[in-house]
Amino acid sequence: MTNQEESPNPEEQEPEQEKEQQSKALLQKIQQLGQSQVAQAPDSNIHILPIIGQIEGHVQLPPKNKTTKYEHLIPQLIAIEQNPKIEGVIVLLNTVGGDVEAGLAISEMIATLSKPSVSIVLGGGHSIGVPISVATDYSYIVETATMTIHPVRMSGLVIGVPQTFEYMEKMQERVINFVTNHSNISEDKFKELMFDKGNLTRDIGTNVVGEDAVKYGLINEIGGISQAMMKLNELIQQQKGYSDEKVMQ
């Protein structure tokens, strides 16, 4: 009690300091831009996750590659999950594939997100881009986009051929299982596309174009940004309705 009487109330001093700081900041803004209020766009409830170039995993790739690093994406996905202002996410894909484990990690993160997600394949969603594109709740592909489906392979030194072969086979199974579990394509059809001969010049596999990807059940629908936005808003409304129902009960 005595303490409070002796020293001036700290709460009274603080607002004055704050005021001073505010006016300083205002002055700075006027000096910089010639205006006091900078127009600010409202925060978006939909976030965009671009997956471009190579998906980079354990080995850093040379800067000539455009890369998507999983150590960037995974914290971003957690931030999306935790931020109550973000209601949905659009995954934009234009990727040539990359590290299998990083790609599967990103796919699993997107698939286990509690918020609605929609993907759009633009340009290309090749190799490990395929599981990422099907990981969302709903997937779109533009008519001109392609998806290359081919076996997982390895180059360089191999020590222990049977073991390595088995490891590769298991890795490939993981990719096949993920894709067939998260899309409408059957395992047989996906394997048929993967091991088809005569479609790719240097490899076995198939280059699936937009409409065919939908026909095979790999992707849900042909469409671009407006369709994806509409679908995502619909999914957001559905989820809101669902959570309201839960509260009512």
């Binding site: 978006s44 965009i48 190579q54 800067p63 960037h72 971003q76 997982v152 360089g156």
Partner: protein, 74 residues
């Protein structure tokens, strides 16, 4: 590490190890940005790392913007 891509190995990797130091990630106005150092010591924005679409409208973070050392923190 297994790479699952239609590109061949020599399309992705290169032999010159000094190339790896070209880029670094810094923070500009609270956003993560990949920058490349230019010859005069300033930095050029290469890539903005954000999921918030509004961040891409910020002129200070647009790819190609030249930044001085004092504009960002590591």
């Amino acid at each position: 590490m297994i790479h699952y891509t239609p590109l061949s190995e020599h399309d992705i990797f290169e032999d010159d190890p000094t190339q790896y130091d070209q880029h670094k990630i810094v923070h500009v106005r609270g956003k993560s940005v990949k920058v490349q150092q230019l010859e005069d010591g300033s930095y050029q924005v290469v890539h903005l790392l954000s999921t918030n679409p509004q961040h891409y409208l910020d002129q200070h973070c647009m790819p190609g913007t030249i930044l001085k050392q004092q504009d960002f923190r590591d």
